[in-house]
Symmetry: C2
Subunit: 334 residues, 2 copies
Amino acid sequence: MTIKQIADELGVHPSTVSRALNPATRGLIGKATTERIEQAAKKLGYYPNAAAASLRTGRSKLIGVFLPDITNPVFSPVLSSIAEVISGAGFATIVADVGNDGRNQSKMMFELVARRVEGLILATVSRNDSLVQQCISEGLPVVLVNRAESKMRVSSVTSDDAYGMRLAIEHLHALGHRRIGHLAGPQNLSTGYLRNKGFHDAVTSLDFDPADTPVVECSAYTRQAGAAAMKSLLEQNADITAVAASNDLVALGAYGALQDAGLKVPDDISVVGHNDMPLVDMVSPPLTTIRISHRELGREAARLLMSEINQEGSGRRSIVLAPELVVRNSTRQI
Amino acid sequence: MTIKQIADELGVHPSTVSRALNPATRGLIGKATTERIEQAAKKLGYYPNAAAASLRTGRSKLIGVFLPDITNPVFSPVLSSIAEVISGAGFATIVADVGNDGRNQSKMMFELVARRVEGLILATVSRNDSLVQQCISEGLPVVLVNRAESKMRVSSVTSDDAYGMRLAIEHLHALGHRRIGHLAGPQNLSTGYLRNKGFHDAVTSLDFDPADTPVVECSAYTRQAGAAAMKSLLEQNADITAVAASNDLVALGAYGALQDAGLKVPDDISVVGHNDMPLVDMVSPPLTTIRISHRELGREAARLLMSEINQEGSGRRSIVLAPELVVRNSTRQI
C-alpha cells in the first residue's frame, strides 16, 4: 500500500497525501482533506515504512533525552514539555535514565547514534562533561537543559541559579536572619556550583560575617544526602537560624534531620528550598522555595534542538530563565 | 567500518565482535574481551547502522510506553523500572504522554508502528479500550500496566485494587469508624472501578448501613477533582468520620477541601489514600495509604513484553500484585 494508491482512491495529488500524513507539514493541508486522507490511510492499512524512509532520507525522526534520575519529580514536567514540542514536530522521544556514570551515558549515546537519533537533550551534564565532546565528535546536535557546562560548546536552557539563591538569601535577610547555613549541591554540577556562588555573593554583599554563613556540600540531590548534610551543619554550627537548601529534596531531607534534632521549622529554624517541585506546597510546613518553570525549560530546549536539527538555528545560545521566590510557611521573622 | 574490520584488528572471530557489541548477547563473551572490542569499536568509529539492520532483520529494538499523564508522580517508578529491563535487553524505550484521548493515542500508535516499534506497554487503558483492538489488528505485542481491561485480550500487570481498598476499610473499621465515605476514581478505568467494588464489598461484609457509606465519583485522578468530590461528599453527608480515597492525589485534594471546611485530619476526619506515591510520607499529616510496588509493576510488564517479542511467552497472562497497608498519621481511633 503506497501513498500513490491512497491518492488514486481519493482523487488527490500524492504530494497532498504525503503532506497530510506528515505531522510537520499537516498544517499546510485543509482540515477536512487531512481527515479524509487519514481515514483512507487507516482503512487501506497504510503506514509509512520508517526504516526504509530513514535509509532513503537519512532521518529517523527520533530524538533522545538523557535524565540523571527519572524518579526525581522535577524531571516530570521537563520531560512532558519536551515530548509535547517534539511530537508536535513529528518526532518521537526516546527517554534514557542514564544516571551519573559517564561510561554508561557514553554507551547509551552510541546505541542511539546507531538508531540514527537526530539529536539529544541532556539533563545530565556535569560542569566538565565528556559526553558533550563525544556528541560534538559524532556531529550529533545537542542541547543541555537545567544543567549547563562551564564551557559553552553547545546550546543550553537553564534557570538563573545564582539569582535564585540571591532571592532566597534576601528573603531570609529581610526576615531578620543573620546566621544562615547553606546545604550546597554537588559542586561538579552547574546547579550546585552556581547556587553556592549565589549564596556566597549574596551574603557578602549583605555584609554577613563569613563565620555566620557555613556551607556543607551534599553528596547528591536526595533526601538522604540532605539529611546527612543538615546533621553535619548542626553539629558544626548549632546557632544558625536559617538554612538555604540547594534543592527541594535536600530541603525535605533537612526537615527530617531537624525533626530528629528536636528543632521545629520555622519556629526554631527557617528553611528555603529550590525548584518548587510538585507537592512541596503540601509538606509540613509548606516549603518556601525558588520556583523554576520546568515546563518552560523543557519547551525551550526542545525548540532549540528542533531548530538545530532543521538547521534554522543561528548558532549556539544559552537561554537563562528567571526564577521567582514563593513564600510559604517554612520561613518566619525572627 | 564493519564488524569484520574490528575482528581483523583484534584477531578474533567476527561473531565474537557481533556478540560483544549486542547488549542481549554480551553476557556470552568474557568481560576482558568485551572491553577490548568496545574500545576498538570506539577507536575505529564503528557503530552498527540500525536503519539498515532494521530493514534486514525487520527489528528496530524499540518499544513504546504510553502514559496518560507523565507529571503524575506514580508513573516515574513505573517508567524507570521498564527502562531498566528494556535497556538490559538491548532495546530503547520511546515514551509518549498521550493523555486520555483515543484519537490521539491511536495516531501515536500508528506513528510508532511506522517506526517498526516491536511492542507497546500501555498505562493508559480504559476498561473498554479501542487502542488494544487496534494493536491486536496490527499484530503488535502489547502489555497493560497498572490499569487493565474488562476483557482479557492481552497480558497485564496490575495491583489487586479491590483487595487494597478492603485493607483500607478494615483498617478504618478496626479504628472504630462506622460512617465512611469513598472518593471513587473514574469508573471507566479498572483502578477506579475495582477500588469502588472493593469498597462496596468490604463495607457490605462488615455490615455497614448503606446510608453510612456514601460514594462520590471524581472526574479524574487529580487534586482538583479530589477537592471537588470531597466538598460534594461533605455537603451530602456531613456526619462521616472517615474517607477512603481512590488514589493519593485525590486524598491530597480532599486534605485541601477539609481544611477549607474547617475540619482537621485526623482529629475530625480520617483519610486513607491509595498508591503510596513519592512524598506522601512528608505531607501534613503524613498520609496513611495503600502501598503499590510501582517498580515491580513496571519490571514485570517489561519482562512480559520482552518474552512476547522474543516469542518465549506461554500466552496471555494477568499478573496481580498484592498491595499493603501503610499506616501513618492521617487516620486515628474514634
